[in-house]
């Protein structure tokens, strides 16, 4: 070994570079991604907001897992313990609950923005589909998490949902059994929901979010140019780091304020413990499933599940469907805007309608 090659002569950064041979230029390059001007407005930052809320979910979720016990005998008790006895338990649980609601709202708003500005079009079809899968994962996150509380409503919500799964064509019976871990909601169901909620779903969410961001980075953010907006060419883009990152941090801080205020004023509550023998008078899922629940009441179990699958399928493949429609019927972008508006309005009407029914 020559003296200049001896480890003792090297600086710490040299040593580290040898141990971890990563080209840091790449990161710098990634961080200096030019961001289009419109992203200076916060309402275009909803994708980042979802990511921020997801991180809050991961951190508070890990904290809750320290105390949560996923068995029918202790699930409710452990949630009550977290809420009433563990130091800051109520706050962590309330943050987890409120940020889950915010996350779902932000996902919907992000989807609206992307849809109506046509940001899903070529070459970004694949990212739309990934985003749509993430919407599904978010909803399943919400549902499984709610069921873990093991209070009366969440228990019966899980029962209804497993019946819905049963109505899926071909694989329904298998799917229902797989979710429940038996013919009825019980001990196995809770364990399965727990594993889904803290293991399977986070893994998929992490992979898909990474892919989603990677594709955004590869394609670049869709640039939106508003009519009559006069922006000098050199200001059309700004740097991701630190300019856009600062906006995101600001949004994060504001969200944290908002979440804390909500946690203080409306802390996560706890209903009656689950009782498989007593069916509550009002069984209701969480609000984001009201649309499906209303559809179920208007049609039948089987038909509502088929409709959900069909509508989900159309939305998932929409970028390709739209291209096909454009080729075949020469439609312009007023058609998807009109369709999207009607679809979302129906979603809202069904949601509100369901909330009025007892």
């Amino acid at each position: 070994m020559t003296p200049e090659n001896s480890p003792s002569k090297k600086s710490f950064s040299q040593k580290f570079a040898e141990l971890f041979p990563f080209d840091w230029e790449l990161l710098r390059h990634a961080g200096s991604e030019p961001v289009p001007y419109h992203l200076k407005k916060w309402w275009f930052c909803l994708g980042g907001t979802v990511l921020y809320l997801f991180i809050i979910q991961v951190i508070t979720g890990i904290a809750l897992t320290f105390y949560y016990v996923p068995t029918p005998a202790f699930a409710y008790q452990s949630v009550a313990h977290i809420t009433n006895e563990v130091r800051f338990g109520w706050y962590i649980r309330s943050l987890h609950r409120w940020s889950s609601i915010f996350m779902i709202i932000a996902v919907f708003l992000h989807l609206l923005r992307v849809f109506f500005t046509g940001a899903y079009r070529h070459p970004r079809q694949l990212n739309w589909m990934i985003g749509f899968l993430l919407l599904g994962i978010t909803l399943v996150f919400g549902f499984t998490g709610y069921s873990l509380i093991y209070e009366q409503l969440s228990f019966w919500g899980a029962t209804v949902a497993s019946n819905l799964a049963e109505a899926v064509p071909l694989i329904g019976h298998w799917l229902g059994y797989f979710l429940r871990g038996g013919p009825e909601v019980g001990e196995n169901t809770l364990t399965r929901f727990f594993i889904l909620h803290i293991g399977v779903l986070p893994t998929f969410a992490f992979l898909l979010i990474s892919l989603h961001i990677l594709l955004i980075r590869l394609h670049g953010v869709t640039e939106l140019r508003f009519e009559g907006e006069v922006i000098p060419e050199e200001e059309r883009h700004f740097r991701f780091w630190p300019d856009h990152a600062t906006t995101e941090i600001m949004i994060g801080v504001l969200l944290m304020y908002l979440l804390t205020i909500l946690a203080l004023i409306f802390p996560a509550s706890l209903g009656e413990p689950a009782n498989p023998n007593v069916t509550p008078v009002h069984i209701k899922p969480e609000w984001y499933f009201y649309f499906n629940y209303r559809m179920l009441k208007l049609t039948s179990l089987k038909l509502s599940v088929l409709l959900t699958l069909a509508l989900g399928g159309i939305a998932f493949f929409w970028p390709f469907i739209e291209e096909w429609l454009a080729r075949k019927f020469k439609i312009d972008d007023r058609v998807p805007v009109a369709l999207g508006t009607v679809a979302f309005l129906v979603f809202l009407v069904f949601t509100v309608w369901e909330s009025f029914s007892h």
Binding site: I105, F108, L109, L112, R113, F116, T117, G118, L224, R225, F226, E227, G228, N275, P276, N277, V278, V281, H282, W287, Y290, D332, D333, R334, V337, T341, F344, L345, L348, T351, V352, S355, F356, H358
Partner: protein
């Protein structure tokens, strides 16, 4: 379409989204408020009562508010309201009311339950007031002026005859500015299931459905029945706790749907265990998937009576007016349509009297049919071989007790009376009477009840073991002793009778075991305990 237009659409939809969410949240919170509000509806007629009694007796009002009655607006006056002419009514804050709520008051709404209950064994529990049990409490344990043992003991389960304090002309004494009638404190408070009420009704619904919360889970819980069905003479609750049924219940109480509103059907709403109510009066599913309705007429599924000295299978005769009479199998059954002179116990001038009433037979339920009704419950969990064999085991125990101990003992007692050894007017004068009383009323019942509800220890150690020990060691010597006290000749007669009885096969064990049996016994103790 311009990007600005799209921006407005997105903004509009987002705004609508937010508005929808707020509306949904508002509806949710409203629903929760309504649900909470539903817990107690204080109607205008009850407002005055609730306002005052929320201060005077707050816990009572809280309990009522917790009840299902309160949620549908059934309040104080619906139950306590009375007509001016009613014997126990008085004018209180502008309304005629009564402290007593009788089954007839409950029948204003619960007609079916009232009719079922009124002809049941429970409703007639107060008729035991003329029994040996009462002699023990009122005379033996009491004094001519103090019946406290009966008041605090027997009557609290069997029910009292509600009486009022009266002046020398027989007029009810009244007290205070409101002229409240003075109830005889020895007769009320009383929640005995067979209480004899001034309005002629029998029983008290709150014996099982405790006021004022009237929770279903109370009457469905075994402990509720255990208030009375316990102790040395009928330890049903202790036997239940010992049985597999009781073990399953206490381990699975949370799966029993005890608080379910409306129907509570075995095989549909719950399956973990049967309670007292399940087997004796509860609703259950049949193999055809039909529901057998519950009934407030307890006893419809009982095929043996295990209470008397000698047990008997029981047929049931139902008359046209709904009156029911148990016919022991030894009593000849009438034909449907026959007119029969029945004995009915009623209260007249605050005294229980027997009345002869001619009635027409409408229906006869045989003991086999009653047993079949009970088997219907059993079959929800067990197969027919299991159930049939259980009844064979149970029957054989009752027959063993009847034949080996009860019948010979009763014969001795009857003969002692016929020979003038015992005074029929003095049922607890001599030792033999006490021993005999406990032999059938305590030990014999324990054995029979133990077998009926699958409690092994109560069948044997608290039951047949005690019966056997006291029969041989206490009763037979006491028979001879009582006879010898009367005259040497009677003493000899009964000594010979006892000796003759003990010559029978079932008593020959007294002469000793066979050499093989004795050796086997010694071997076992040697091997097991080295003794």
């Amino acid at each position: 379409m311009t990007l600005t237009t799209k921006r407005y659409i997105v903004a509009g939809l987002s705004f609508l989204f937010l508005a929808s969410l707020l509306l949904v949240a508002y509806q949710e919170s409203k629903m929760k408020r309504v649900e909470k509000k539903e817990e107690a509806i204080v109607t205008s007629v009850n407002k005055g009562c609730v306002d005052c009694h929320s201060k005077d007796s707050p816990a009572l009002v809280m309990e009522w508010k917790y009840s299902r009655h309160a949620r549908v607006g059934i309040g104080c006056l619906e139950c306590h309201g009375a007509k001016k002419e009613e014997i126990d009514a008085w004018l209180h804050e502008g309304e005629y009311i009564s402290s007593l709520v009788t089954p007839r008051d409950c029948a204003k709404c619960h007609v079916k339950e009232y009719e079922q209950f009124s002809t049941s064994h429970h409703a007639r529990a107060g008729e035991i007031l003329a029994s040996l049990d009462n002699v023990l409490a009122e005379k033996v344990a009491g004094t001519p002026t103090n019946k406290a043992d009966a008041v605090n003991g027997c009557w609290q389960c069997h029910g009292s005859i509600i009486k009022f304090k009266r002046d020398k002309d027989g007029k009810i004494l009244r007290t205070g500015q409101e002229n409240k009638p003075v109830i005889d404190p020895t007769t009320w408070p009383n929640s005995g299931v067979g209480r004899l009420n001034p309005d002629g009704s029998k029983g008290s619904c709150h014996a099982c459905h405790s006021r004022h919360s009237f929770q279903a889970k109370l009457s469905r819980s075994p402990e509720n029945c255990g208030k009375c069905h316990m102790g040395p003479d009928h330890p049903q609750i202790e036997i239940y706790k010992e049985s597999k049924h009781g073990i399953a219940f206490y381990a699975n109480r949370d799966r029993m749907a005890l608080d379910k509103s409306g129907d509570w059907v075995l095989g549909k709403d719950y399956s973990a265990a049967p309670t007292c109510a399940t087997c004796h009066i509860g609703s259950y599913m049949t193999p055809k998937g039909e529901k057998v309705e519950n009934s407030h007429d307890v006893g419809q599924r009982i095929s043996w009576t295990l209470r008397p000295i000698i047990s008997s299978r029981l047929n049931l005769v139902i008359y046209e007016d709904g009156f029911k009479e148990d016919y022991p199998e030894t009593r000849k059954l009438p034909q449907i349509g026959d007119e029969v002179i029945t004995t009915e116990k009623v209260v007249e001038n605050e005294k229980l009297i027997s009345k002869k009433v001619p009635r027409k037979v409408e229906k006869i339920i045989t003991w086999q049919e009653r047993r079949q009704n009970m088997k219907g419950v059993c079959l929800n969990c067990h197969n027919d071989t299991f159930v049939d064999n259980f009844y064979k085991q149970f029957d054989s125990l009752v027959e063993l007790y009847n034949e080996k101990f009860a019948k010979p003992a009763k014969k001795f007692m009857d003969d002692l009376k016929a020979d003038g050894v015992l005074n029929p007017k003095s049922p607890f004068e001599k030792k033999v009477q006490w021993v005999f009383w406990e032999l059938w009323h305590h030990e014999g019942r324990r054995a029979r009840h133990g077998a009926s509800m699958m409690g092994p220890d109560y069948t044997h150690w608290h039951g047949m073991y005690e019966v056997s020990k006291h029969f041989y060691q206490e009763f037979l010597p006491a028979v001879i002793e009582a006879a010898a006290e009367t005259s040497p000749a009677l003493g000899r007669k009964y000594r010979n009778r006892v000796a003759k009885l003990l010559q029978q096969d079932e008593h020959l064990w007294l002469k000793g075991l066979t050499p093989e049996e004795a050796r086997a016994l010694q071997k076992m103790y040697k091997e097991r305990y080295n003794e």
